[in-house]
């Protein structure tokens, strides 16, 4: 086995350990453990005496390539890795989840985002087999896992509470799932060292969880979940118990790690910033149904429902009236390009306007002002400035929208340069194509 390791190092797998299980009857390679993100070729495998258990034999190994590079993440192509169809969960008469259809591609990072009680954790637990759906099917890697108990599924999971075994050392925690698989001790140790290094805590193997900070404990929990190289990584609000700085640091690490390993990942969070910054796709949930699925930009720019517009980011909500392709809001009569041309009966609508979707110029500004004939320009007076650092929430009164008030984002630079304070006047411009109408 030592021989195998030496060979492997020579073949430049790097610091990763390729551990080769050989079939007892021949020298064939039957399993490729620990290195799912590499495709390796094996030759000159030493024959193993018949009747012995699978052992680890000397072999010539060469890396063909990184699997990630030949199988790039592409949500659109072929079978999804995880497929949920018609998932419904009832607790008594209360429907915690209904009509959940979702496809997740291999290697994708998906966030379930929603307020507490929206069913996102229940959905994650259903995928993990910790809750049983009332109806629906779940397919993972092509096989139906709906009825399988957790122990027969393929995933690693990280909880908000870390759930590290407090009486076991870091090394024993990380090795917990490996010990059960009859992997030789030296290889377990090697794997543990590798993982602990991977999550950025080399040398902490002999410590107990209580000696680590919250962020460090969560890193170890992550290492433990990844130790058995699961096909799916489930993260249940992994960052919620951490302080603000640690949260941002760890979330970047999680993303980097996920991209490095290419493991399909689902994370549950109620923190929109977390979801926006991490996910390939976000699943916004509310009251047990999926409101929208899309990339961070889609969700933010093209919210599919008032709930999504309200929940993700800040938004001004203004009453308006829609008649065909004409929208009346405040004193404006607009024809936003995103409206369908279909004639529909006139109705009252709500107009959603993001604070950054309003451009600002000072009133007295010379050349930098808006063209005088721009129909979307209006005047406003600053009522309150909420200082948030480089940007400020500026609450303004505009006669065009009275009695409703607007909140706009303005950079501190702009405010200082134009010496704008409370009661200053300024000129704002509406961007009709950015309005969302519900």
């Amino acid at each position: 086995m030592d021989e195998a390791l030496r060979l492997e190092e020579r073949e430049e797998i790097g610091d990763r350990l390729a551990c080769l299980a050989c079939a007892p009857k021949s020298g064939d390679l039957i399993r490729r453990r620990f290195v799912p993100w590499f495709r390796v070729a094996v030759s000159n495998c030493a024959p193993v005496p018949a009747g012995t258990k699978p052992i680890y034999a000397a072999a010539q190994i060469s890396v063909i390539d990184r699997i990630r590079t030949i199988e790039p993440r592409s949500p659109m192509t072929d079978q999804p890795y995880l497929r949920l169809r018609g998932i419904r969960k009832e607790f008594g008469t209360f429907a915690a989840l209904s009509n959940i259809d979702l496809d997740i591609a291999k290697g994708e990072f998906v966030c379930f985002l929603g307020p507490s009680g929206c069913g996102k954790t229940t959905l994650l637990r259903i995928i993990a087999g910790l809750e049983v759906p009332t109806s629906g099917t779940i397919t993972q890697a092509g096989s139906d896992i709906t009825r399988r108990p957790p122990a027969e599924r393929d995933y690693g999971i990280v909880f908000q509470s870390y759930a590290l075994f407090p009486n076991l050392s870091v090394a024993d925690n990380v090795a917990y799932g490996l010990v059960n698989r009859r992997v030789p001790k030296t290889q377990i140790n090697e794997r543990v060292r590798e993982l602990v290094k991977l999550v950025g805590l080399p040398g902490s193997e002999r410590k107990f969880p209580a000696q680590l900070s919250g962020g460090q404990q969560q890193r170890i929990a992550l290492a433990r979940a990844l130790a058995t190289s699961p096909g799916l990584l489930l993260l249940d609000e992994p960052l919620s118990a951490l302080d603000a700085l640690e949260r941002v640091r760890l979330r970047q690490e999680i993303r980097a790690l996920q991209q490095k390993l290419g493991v399909t990942t689902i994370m549950v969070t109620h923190d929109q910033e977390e979801a926006l910054s991490l996910a390939d796709r976000i699943v916004v949930m509310n009251h047990g149904v999926i409101e929208q699925i899309g990339s961070a930009m889609d969700i933010y720019r093209e919210p599919a429902s008032p709930f999504v517009a309200d929940f993700v980011g800040k938004v001004n909500v203004l009453p308006g009236r829609l008649d065909g392709s004409k929208l009346d809001v405040g004193s404006f009569s607009l024809s936003p390009p995103q409206l369908s041309r279909h004639a529909a009966p006139a109705k009252d609508v709500k107009v959603y306007l993001r604070p950054e979707d309003v451009l600002a110029r000072s009133v007295g500004g010379g050349g930098a002002g808006f063209p005088p004939d721009d129909p979307h320009v209006f005047d406003a007076v600053i009522e309150k400035i909420e200082f948030l650092g480089s940007f400020c929430h500026v609450h303004v009164n505009a006669s065009a929208f009275a009695p409703h008030k607007l909140t706009v984002y303005l950079s501190l630079n702009f405010l200082t340069e134009q010496s704008l304070t409370v009661n200053s006047s300024l000129r704002l411009k509406l961007l009709p194509e950015r309005l969302r109408i519900f």
Binding site: L130, T146, E152, L168
Partner: protein, 575 residues
């Protein structure tokens, strides 16, 4: 045909998804089923036997309420009912306030020697409850030291209600005290700080914060005290004289007159207040947990000289009374011939151990206590784990949980009586167990099951709820996680449960009094027989000996706990 197809299609749509059960989960379900079988056979069936018996006529026919009517028409028995009630109320009204002040001194003052006072106050737990009754006889009995003084204050004789009340006050004091200490420890310092910031007086703080905060504890302590007194058998037997109570009635009816039907009726009367207590306590404890938040800041007393001294003086008085009680029993046990020859001798010990067959009884007691501690702890902890931490078989869980809580509501006397009715029946295949040490052990385990169960559940609930989920995701079966993680973390609780079982098995009388045979007689019963035979000196000696053994056992368990702590709790880091 078409209809059949239609219904099939319907069930296919509406049938909820069911997960297949992993074989390791089946193993867990089997374990729970086993617990259920044990609790049904050794708790539910005996209780059912009492119920059946109470509705049965002389020849085994169904007699409806005849037995109850006959009972109500027996004036002597009704007097016992009244006696039981008023004595229990009196003890509750005396012992609970005394224990409250004691607990208050231990938790809310800065007096010294708290550990010592606490240790002394727990003495009555170590001996059978009748120790205090025996001691009282030496103090105030016919040849008592202070008989004259007692008659001076208007009590003609100690035998009867006065003796029962005083002896019970001692016996129940530690039980009430432990509940009240818990209740008073759970105080939120922030409330007191807020009150102080508003300039609230000490007495107002007491009546607006302390008392309301402890009211559930007080209620709980009162209920437990009432039930303990109501169902205690040893003390009224020893010092009751002609003063009859329900507990002694049961014994007389069943063992003396072989009137099983009436005995069953009295047993049900004994069961009623206990069940009521249980229900109220259950309701109250749920409220209590809702009151305390995780953010509460523990209260710390601030030194105040006068107040601390007053509290200490109070604790000294109570502790002295405790020591006088134990001391008299010890003294009397070493006296040659009370009250005429006070030279020290070991006569009573020899008499008790050899002639009174207590030596044998002690061996039996130790066997039973060890068995109870070992088997009971294993059973209680393992089934609590399966109930709390595994999943599936939900139809089984609620009934087993209820069965685990039920023993708290069943007085030992009633349980023992149920065992007679159930296991003594010739038709019962378990009949062979009757009179064996095995049955005594099982009866004791069941009798004290609930406290052990609650200790185990509390310990298990403090663990992260996701250990089992993580294990399953790592393909590690629950029993490995139980062995590698849960058990090592919970060893302190295990030692606690074992100690509780051991001490109680050493001192219990009520349940086993119906179940022993000459070969399996335990020490506490032997003491009762010695007292009945008029050998009160020997009885005192043997009670002192049990107290001694219990004290040594407690010490050993504490050492074990410390050793276990050092071996398995290193991960907690320096404390």
């Amino acid at each position: 045909m078409a209809v059949a197809v239609h219904t099939n299609a319907l069930t296919a749509i509406s049938a909820p998804v069911r997960q297949t059960t992993h074989w390791t989960d089946r193993l867990a379900h089997l374990g729970i089923l086993l617990t259920a079988v044990v609790l049904i056979a050794f708790l539910a069936m005996p209780l059912a036997a009492i119920l059946l018996q109470s509705f049965e006529g002389k020849n085994g026919e169904f007699a409806g309420l005849t037995n109850f009517v006959a009972y109500a028409k027996t004036p002597a028995l009704l007097t016992s009912l009244w006696n039981s009630i008023w004595v229990s109320v009196a003890v509750t009204l005396i012992a609970v306030p005394l224990a409250f002040v004691f607990a208050y001194a231990l938790t809310r003052s800065c007096m010294r020697f708290k550990a010592l006072f606490r240790g002394i106050s727990l003495i009555p737990i170590l001996a059978p409850s009748l120790l205090s009754a025996i001691s009282l006889i030496y103090w105030f009995g016919n040849q008592g030291v202070l008989k004259g003084a007692m008659q001076g204050v208007g009590i003609t004789q100690i035998y009867g209600a006065p003796g029962i009340v005083i002896a019970e006050c001692f016996a129940v004091f530690p039980h009430a005290l432990m509940i009240l200490i818990t209740a008073l420890t759970l105080a939120d310092a922030r409330l007191y700080e807020a009150a102080a910031a508003m300039g609230t007086s000490a007495s107002r703080k007491f009546f607006t914060i302390t008392l309301p905060g402890a009211k559930y504890g007080l209620l709980s302590a009162a209920l437990v005290t009432f039930t303990l007194v109501m169902t205690d058998f040893g003390i009224p037997k020893v010092i009751g004289g002609n003063f009859n109570v329900l507990a002694t009635d049961v014994f007389k009816l069943v063992i003396g007159q072989q009137d099983f039907a009436k005995g069953a009726v009295v047993a049900i009367l004994l069961l009623l207040p206990a069940v009521l207590t249980f229900a109220v306590d259950h309701y109250v404890s749920r409220k209590q947990t809702a009151m305390l938040t995780a953010r509460a800041v523990p209260y710390k007393a601030t030194p105040a000289r006068g107040y601390d001294r007053a509290m200490m003086a109070y604790c000294v008085v109570i502790s002295l009374l405790m020591l006088l009680m134990l001391g008299m029993a010890i003294f009397a046990s070493f006296v040659s011939f009370w009250p005429y020859n006070l030279t020290p001798s070991t006569r009573h010990y020899v008499l008790g151990l050899v002639d009174g067959e207590v030596a044998e009884g002690l061996v039996n007691s130790l066997k039973m206590a060890a068995g109870t501690a070992f088997v009971g702890t294993a059973l209680v902890f393992f089934s609590a784990y399966l109930l709390e931490k595994t999943k599936g078989a939900n139809w089984l869980r609620a009934p087993v949980r209820m069965l685990a809580m039920l023993p708290m509501a069943v007085p030992g006397l009633v349980l023992g009586l149920g065992y007679i009715f159930f296991f003594n029946a010739a038709a019962n295949p378990l009949n062979a167990l009757y009179h064996t040490t095995a049955l005594l052990t099982l009866c004791t385990i069941v009798h004290f099951y609930t406290t052990g169960h609650l200790t185990a559940v509390t310990a298990l609930k403090s663990l992260d709820g996701e250990f089992e989920a993580v294990s399953a995701s790592l393909k590690v079966p629950w029993y490995k996680t139980f062995w590698r993680v849960t058990l090592p973390i919970c060893t302190p609780a295990l030692v606690d449960i074992a100690r509780y079982f051991f001490i109680n098995a050493m001192t219990t009388i009520s349940a086993v009094v119906f179940l022993y045979s000459p070969e399996t007689k335990v020490a506490s019963i032997a003491i009762l027989n010695l007292d009945e035979a008029g050998e009160i000196g020997a009885a005192a000696a043997m009670a002192v000996m049990i107290a001694g053994i219990s004290a040594v056992a407690t010490g050993l368990f504490m050492l074990l706990a410390r050793w276990v702590d050092r071996r398995t709790q290193a991960w907690r880091g320096p404390r």
